[in-house]
Amino acid sequence: MAEVRSSRTVLTSITAYGTLIVISIFCLLPFVWMALASVDSNAQLFLKWPDSWTLDNYSRVFNKEDGYRWFGNSLFTVLSATILVIIISGLGGYALSRSRAWWKQPFLYAILLIRVLPSTALLVPLYKILLGFNNAEGAVVRPLFGSASRQVMQIFGFIDGYLGLIIVLTAGQLPLALWIMKVFFDGVPKDFEEAAILDGATLVQRIRRVLIPLALPGLAAAGLFTFMSAWGDFLLPLILLSSAELSTLPLGLFRAFLRVNEIDYGLLAAIAVVYLIPAVIAFSFARRFLVQTFSGGVKG
């Protein structure tokens, strides 16, 4: 009887692990292909062992293609959006946590709704609004800066400018970040601030010396979520950016893929790896903070 049971347990384990291994292989395969193809001198569409190992694909990403610029653009826009989200969600989350205003609950659900709505559906009105802003801005900038106005608009423009993309990325990531920070501050007792008030801390000192250190895990979680999500965004840069100088990594990858005559799988794989690395680094940081943030508040 005992043997029947143990053999059944073994069979169950084999089935379970077998299934899991198949699923894992299925999930890992694209990454394995990518990693191998990126160092293959003759990469093909199918999975194969490299003919010869080379870093040539990577050197072409940065030397022949605009790799540095793409990477820089991506990093600049996404980091700017992340910093903005951290600041706004930190202040806003605190306000939403401490306020007793009647509109608090409706507001929180309303911003969640924004998050739930597919942003693709809102692209046309969004583009229209940004275009309106952009035209108005252009009308002011052009007479002021003359021939330099194109450079100015590439930085501060709402369409085909860093600022527009940063603002839209920020707005898109804010709802979740606000929720994270609101819930996080809910778990931070008011006593900390009141103790600081009695110790003679000014508002700025309370924020800098007490609230920010206490909120750091939450801010890190909100920031990393924002970074990872904005880093992976493809549609917004595609719609909002058209100049080659402003192109971000996903756009570079997309355009390299679209070239009709030469599909250079080695190059594509190398761009993809470069594109993945920051996200993986961000995630490895995020794990630590996420556990702390979502397992509940500040431990005294």
Binding site: E194, L198, G200, Q205, P213, K299, G300
Partner: protein, 362 residues
């Protein structure tokens, strides 16, 4: 009393339409240990936070050392506070936590570390200065919280239920340490608790609060011996005073209390003329009732419901008519539920309250 350190004159507090503090008038002398005690929701913490400056005052005056401080910011009142949650900053070490207020005032580093050292020695925290609060025990955190308060050399220290997060044994120990600290440093202390034992053991004076009103304000023993109403009578003292309802009757010249259960006791030496026939409440502490063998010496008969034998003393829960009474007997007493018992009361220890609950003077 010379000029009191803290004086509350007709202090009021409202949250919207709800009045939570009603015309509180009390004064705390310099160096006195005053305890605010009352059931949860009675407004004691609100009152404390008003003294600290964390809550606004809607009416009346708050006077500190002769100066009205209603509108003085919390940090300029010379008041320190120890919070129920301790509110130790988890990202700072013990030394940084204790020295935080000095650091904010830009006191030189050397002086901060000297002051922190002095406080740490006083509170036996010297070994723990480099630790973070998370690595401390409950009692140690409590001491750090106290250290953070006393380093400012405040005129007044406020305590908001500081011992309620500690286990029973530690609570007794911290109670003793707080009293020692008070005797050494002689600060004025206002201490909030819902635990009347804490109030009785530590206070020089107790303020009993109920529903935002001061029910009574006096020394612990005075509250115990002369409660002014049934609320204080029932709140101060552990176990609670027995409160029996009945009517005043007359047996010849002597007024008597006729319990609803049917028995009556004389109330000699009280001028209760004109009150005969009124509904009253008789209060008697559990230790003033004793079982007797001789029915002739007893005031009334009852039935034992529950027996709690603690060794040094025995608590009898007895029923007489609809009323349940607690009797506290010295020594061990082997009785069992259901047994009849004859009880005698100390007639000099009666408290008599009128229908509204106010005491009827002897």
């Amino acid at each position: 009393m010379s000029t009191p350190m803290i004086e509350l004159k007709g202090v009021n507090k409202r949250y919207g339409h709800v009045q939570v503090i009603h015309d509180v008038d009390i004064a705390v002398a310099d160096g006195e240990f005053t305890v605010f005690v009352g059931p949860s929701g009675c407004g004691k913490s609100t009152l404390l936070r008003m003294i600290a400056g964390l809550e606004t005052i809607d009416g009346g005056d708050l006077v500190l050392n002769g100066k009205r401080i209603n509108d003085v910011p919390p940090d300029q009142r010379g008041i320190a506070m120890v919070f129920q949650s301790y509110a130790l900053y988890p990202h700072m070490t013990v030394a940084q936590n204790i020295g935080f207020s000095l650091d904010l005032k830009k006191v030189p580093k050397a002086e901060i570390s000297r002051e922190v050292g002095r406080v740490a020695e006083l509170l036996q925290l010297s070994e723990l200065l480099d630790r973070r609060p998370a690595a401390l025990s409950g009692g140690q955190r409590q001491r750090v919280a106290i250290g953070r308060a006393i380093i400012k050399r405040p005129r007044v220290i406020l305590f908001d239920e500081p011992l309620s997060n500690l286990d029973a044994a530690l609570r007794v120990q911290m109670r003793a340490e707080l009293q020692k600290l008070h005797q050494e440093l002689k600060p004025t202390i206002v201490y909030v608790t819902h635990d009347q034992v804490e109030a009785m053991t530590m206070a020089s004076r107790i303020v009993v609060l109920n529903q935002g009103r001061v029910e009574q304000w006096d020394t612990p023993i005075a509250l115990y011996s002369n409660p002014v109403n049934t609320f204080v009578a029932g709140f101060i003292g552990s176990p609670k005073m027995n409160l029996l309802s009945g009517t005043l009757g007359a047996d010849g010249d002597v007024t008597s209390f006729r319990a609803d259960a049917g028995w009556s006791v004389p109330l000699p030496g009280r001028s209760l003329a004109g009150k005969i026939g009124e509904r009253v409440t008789l209060g008697i502490r559990p230790e003033e009732i004793r079982p007797v063998d001789d029915a002739g010496k007893a005031d009334f008969a009852a039935t034992v419901a529950i027996v709690e034998r603690l060794g040094a003393e025995t608590y009898l829960n007895v029923t007489s008519g609809d009323a349940t009474l607690l009797v506290r007997v010295q020594g061990d007493l082997a009785m069992s539920p259901g047994e009849p018992v004859q009880l005698a009361m100390n007639h000099d220890a009666f408290h008599l309250f009128d229908q509204s609950g106010r005491v009827i003077a002897a």
